[in-house]
């Protein structure tokens, strides 16, 4: 299977370890992973802020770059959601219009639905709580796939997050346009995370993890944000954090 990794602009730039982990994980599971270097951004920030024309140009690029793959895997529910939900209406020139959008998967979806695995052979001996990000939950409907993957990780102590399905307050430019409301939402999310006494907070989106993690580090709450891909990539032979 010819799999393209869509790293997403945020992860490519700020969280390379997540994309490295996703690559190693997919290769360990037998995929041939490619990273088309022309890729940049899915256009979500532009679209969600109201800049539709710029978003459409980025969607066109995405459709052209990822057209020839069996699957495109993104370590982000939000970006995968953008591609699947909005690209079909934004892309008008690249035929076939929906091929890349249709073949785009969020990581946990790809693992469970396409590769058919829930035990990926990972080892992660830590107390972990999982935040289901809004777009992974409500836009693309990953359901309990991430939890099933986490439950199969050896050594991992999975702790329920109270009020898990409530938004953390990130919302892209919402976090700066409505910074006070965003911060109030973040405060409640952090309280719930701290209550779990977990060592690690995980999620399928680095954007939300950056938001919650940024708050936790400011408040000196000793919970580390770690992307789901990094937990699933971690093994006894190569434990997280993996050397670059």
């Amino acid at each position: 299977m010819r799999v393209a990794l869509f790293a997403t602009c945020l992860t490519d730039t700020l969280f390379p370890t997540t994309a490295i982990a996703a690559t190693r994980l997919l290769e360990r599971l037998g995929c041939r992973v490619e990273f088309p270097l022309d890729q940049t951004c899915c256009g979500q920030m532009h679209l969600n802020t109201g800049y539709r024309a710029e978003a459409a140009q980025l969607a066109e690029r995405y459709a052209a770059i990822f057209a020839g793959y069996d699957a495109v895997v993104a370590p982000s529910g939000s970006c995968a959601g953008m591609v699947r939900e909005f690209h079909p209406e934004l892309v008008t020139t690249s035929p076939p219009r929906n091929a890349a959008a249709r073949n785009t998967y969020e990581l946990s979806e790809f693992l469970v639905d396409v590769l058919g695995v829930t035990d990926v052979g990972a080892y992660f001996p830590h107390r972990v709580t999982y935040h289901p990000t809004c777009h992974s939950l409500r836009m693309i409907g990953v359901g309990d796939r991430p939890l099933r993957l986490l439950s199969a990780v050896r050594g991992l102590d999975l702790i329920d997050l109270p009020e898990a399905e409530t938004c953390c307050g990130f919302g892209g430019t919402f976090a700066v346009k409505n910074a006070e409301v965003s911060t109030a939402m973040l405060a409640d999310k952090m309280r719930c995370v701290a209550e779990t006494r977990a060592e690690v907070l995980t999620a399928g989106d680095n954007s939300c993890l950056m938001h919650i993690g940024g708050g936790l580090s400011r408040m000196r709450v000793g919970v580390r944000p770690v992307h789901l891909a990094e937990i699933l990539a971690s093994t006894e032979e190569e434990p997280w954090p993996a050397p670059a």
Partner: protein, 476 residues
């Protein structure tokens, strides 16, 4: 034609109003308790029905089909109401509707009207218009009464006094209700009794009642009001004259459609299997109920909204307020921050569409009053994809902007960078230098506009090497 009314004059933009609301800790406590309670109850009420998702789809289809042939259904409704002895009036906007109602009240020789809770009359500012015309409107729904007596503004579609707790309500009643005992406590039963005594006198003396409508059936000309307290039934049956102000999107073709909508509405709004009172009337009936019935059909921006292919789904709304109760933004700011009689997620898409002026800063701020988390869409009984409409309206806000703004410049620059992988990589390398600002792997202060982020959250220090640089080094 654009609507009028809807928002309160002089309301600041959402971020500004929200900031003030967030500072009110009592308000936040009241809201959190109220929204969480009703949210949990709704979830339980909905879980009882195995076919809930199919009901939602049916509700959306019924409303869409009614809206697709709105002109036909409205004329059928008019003919049926007229045939049964009612009088139908058409109002283009708030001013026209208010003038019609005031004229009818005067013709009936009344200087006081009793009111059934109604979003349409709140939208057009009817109470203010009546007062200016020398007519006293009396709200008879308990929560509306609390808002009216407190000279307050509503903060919720269903529970307009949701921002008030029992102690605050007791103070309002003691101060404003002549019949209230000075020893009144904040016991819910005592509060309800005080309101009941106050209102009973009004019901028995009123000659005119004003209501809204939840639905109207075109086939028969029947109008439907659902409520919980019985005050509506009093208003709809006791006075001689009944005036109903109804948004034109409330019409459905047939009774069969109500079968679906009357299941969706109570479970979504009050978390009840069925609301306690469902009143249906058809024109006038000699010897029973009002002798005069007037139906005012209100446009007020609705036909403009209907013309927008994405935005028109907002007109499916049956005013249940489940989206408010589930919204994490609403939960923290309350309804008044939206500056409109329609607060919360539905208000954020309805208000700007009714008023139709996205160059107005307050209206333009509403589509951004959301993190796009999608909790509203998940609970909407008629499947209004509120996040999608919000995103759509945001693009209209940007299109309505005149001249350059720092945001537009930043977005254009980012777009230019993202359209070319070489420029993107150069920007990554330049951005990576920001790690020099970092201490212990994090950046705690950035200049504006980054300061809007770092006011409450750190930024991780950028890595030395981006992923694409790693890929090229190890795989290239």
């Amino acid at each position: 034609m654009a609507g009028t009314g809807v928002t309160w004059l002089g309301t600041p933009t959402f971020p500004k109003a929200a900031r003030a609301a967030l500072g009110d800790t009592q308000l936040r406590r009241n809201l959190r308790k109220a929204t969480h309670t009703i949210r949990d109850k709704r979830a339980a009420a909905v879980a009882e029905l195995a076919d809930w998702e199919r009901l939602r789809a049916a509700g959306a289809a019924i409303k869409d089909s009614a809206l697709a042939n709105l002109d036909v259904h409205l004329e059928r409704l008019e003919a049926a109401v007229t045939a049964r002895g009612g009088v139908v009036h058409w109002a283009r906007d708030a001013d026209e509707a208010n003038a019609i109602v005031l004229r009818l009240v005067r013709a009936a020789g009344a200087d006081e009207v009793v009111k059934v809770k109604s979003m349409a009359t709140a939208e057009i500012g009817l109470n203010e218009a009546l007062l200016a015309g020398g007519v006293r409107p009396v709200e008879t729904d308990l929560a509306e009464l609390i808002v009216q007596l407190g000279r307050d503004r509503p903060s919720h579609i269903l529970v307009p006094a949701i921002h008030r707790n029992r102690a605050e309500i007791r103070e309002i009643f003691r101060r404003e209700m002549p019949s209230a005992s000075p020893g009144l406590t904040d016991d819910p039963r005592e509060l309800a009794d005080a309101a009941r005594h106050h209102l009973r006198l009004k019901f028995l003396s009123a000659r005119v009642a004003v209501s809204g409508a939840n639905f109207a059936v075109a086939d028969t000309g029947s109008v439907v009001v659902v409520e919980s307290e019985g005050n509506g039934r009093m208003c709809l049956t006791l006075p001689e004259t009944l005036i109903t102000v109804m948004g034109i999107e409330k019409v459905v073709p047939s009774w069969r459609d109500l079968e679906v909508l009357l299941q969706l509405l109570p479970r979504s709004s009050t978390a009840e299997r069925m609301n306690p009172y469902t009143s249906v009337w058809t024109g006038v009936t000699p010897g029973d109920g009002p002798r005069h019935f007037h139906l005012v059909l209100l446009d007020n921006g609705r036909t403009d909204a209907l013309a927008d292919e994405v935005g028109r789904q907002a007109l499916r709304c049956i005013r249940c307020s489940a989206c408010l109760n589930s919204c994490p933004v609403y939960e923290r700011t309350g309804g008044q921050a939206y500056g409109s009689v329609y607060p919360g997620p539905i208000g954020a898409i309805l208000t700007p569409q009714l008023l139709g002026d996205l160059s107005d800063p307050q209206q333009a701020s509403l589509p951004y009053a959301s993190s796009l988390c999608g909790a509203c869409f998940e609970v909407c009984p008629v499947r209004i994809d509120i996040p999608r409409v919000l995103v759509h309206l945001r693009s209209k806000v940007v299109a309505a902007k005149s001249g350059a703004s720092p945001e537009a410049a930043a977005m254009a620059a980012l777009g230019w960078i993202m359209r070319d992988p070489r420029r993107f990589e150069a920007a990554q390398r330049a951005g990576s230098l920001a790690r020099l600002l970092a201490r212990q792997g994090r950046i705690s202060r950035l200049p504006w506009p980054g300061s809007r982020w770092t006011s409450a959250r750190d930024v991780p220090a950028p890595p030395r090497e981006s992923f694409r640089a790693w890929w090229r080094r190890t795989r290239g």
